[in-house]
Symmetry: C2
Subunit: 216 residues, 2 copies
């Protein structure tokens, strides 16, 4: 599949590298055409890099791996026309570190970043996924023991099937993926980050996930 | 121990009944002295009921099991002098159901209900606990399999030790209890409710908990 990843940071690079290994054509998108991180990653991993608009235009599916505080501006730079009709997997969290650690969320409670992106891109099929785990876990879920859980959500069932298929390629088993329903449920998975960052603090690592245990 | 529980609803009654069975003297506190739920519970379970102020005044330790939207008003009615020097276990979540299900939070992100209660009661030792599970799980954690987790937080280490001891009486094992640090961490455990209510919706039951799984 021809996949664009908006962003050139650690999350973008980790997902990009995993997707290249799976045989996908991957382009990291950046504000500029020759972003230093993007060029270095592309050369080292056999991928490509371009500006946001061109990366998205040529792709069948797009990941948003930009910092959540900037994601709406990135989407605007990318252009709705380059994202129309495509599945966009929103991995970002609207974390605001301006007051230090732990961060607050720049949007929450009666709104979410994923909904804002869906509103800005009415012709794009936004699916929220992977935002509840750190990037090593995203692409290698087996590093965490047991049937830990990955909640996803989005308005379009066929888009969610496409995402589930891609997640399975990344190592997620079907019964680890929990569909919460429409995109408003991203409020839940993004607000969980307020607990995640504190678990990260208490455990001293981000290399964990939660497993949902039902009563017998 | 002489324990007061602010509230006469399901959470208050469930915790109250469990504490009576453990041999504690329990008084459910209510706005009025002869609250119908409180009187019925006390007669059926060998407990007592009183108004908030009297219940708290005579207690060594106090639970807040009122609806989170009303908890600050309840604390005010109870009177800081009746809660001074005591451990207060805050079980409430500031859930606002005025727009239906799923609820929003009436306070979150850069503040939490537990912090507001601690600010209103500077001489009370507030510990946030048990707010991340439904009431059947609170008093019978073994109904959920495996080492699922209970995050707690509060400013006073000795108060947290008292709470841990009481949680162990209720069936929580020491290594299930995760101390996140000071009371500001209640932002994390309260905001997790935005995910909890959606897991409740997707699973069709509140009879679950999360287990934190670290990478090997």
């Amino acid at each position: 599949m021809n996949i664009a990843i908006l962003g050139t940071g650690q999350v973008a690079q980790t997902i990009g590298t995993a997707l290249v290994k799976l045989g996908h054509q991957v382009t990291l998108g950046s504000r500029t055409e020759h972003n230093e991180n993007g060029v270095a990653w592309a050369e080292a991993n056999g991928g490509q890099t371009h500006n946001f608009a061109t990366a998205a235009k040529e792709a069948e599916l797009v990941f948003n791996c930009t910092a959540g505080m900037h994601s709406l501006s990135v989407v605007q730079q990318t252009g709705a026309e380059n994202l129309a009709g495509k599945v966009l997997i929103d991995v970002a969290n609207p974390l605001d570190f301006s007051q230090g650690f732990p961060p607050t969320l720049s949007v929450c409670n009666d709104q979410s970043l994923a909904e804002q992106i869906q509103q800005a891109l009415p012709d794009t099929l936004v699916v929220k996924a992977l935002n509840t785990v750190a990037n090593p876990v995203m692409v290698e879920p087996s590093r965490v023991p047991c049937q830990h859980s990955l909640p996803i959500c989005g308005n379009d069932d066929r888009a969610k099937e496409v995402v589930k298929e891609l997640l399975q390629q990344l190592g997620w088993q079907n019964d680890q993926i929990l569909d919460l329903g429409d995109i408003t449920n991203a409020r839940g998975t993004e607000m969980y980050l307020a607990l995640w960052v504190r678990l990260y603090g208490a455990l001293g690592t981000g290399d964990f996930n939660i497993q949902i245990q039902k009563a017998d």
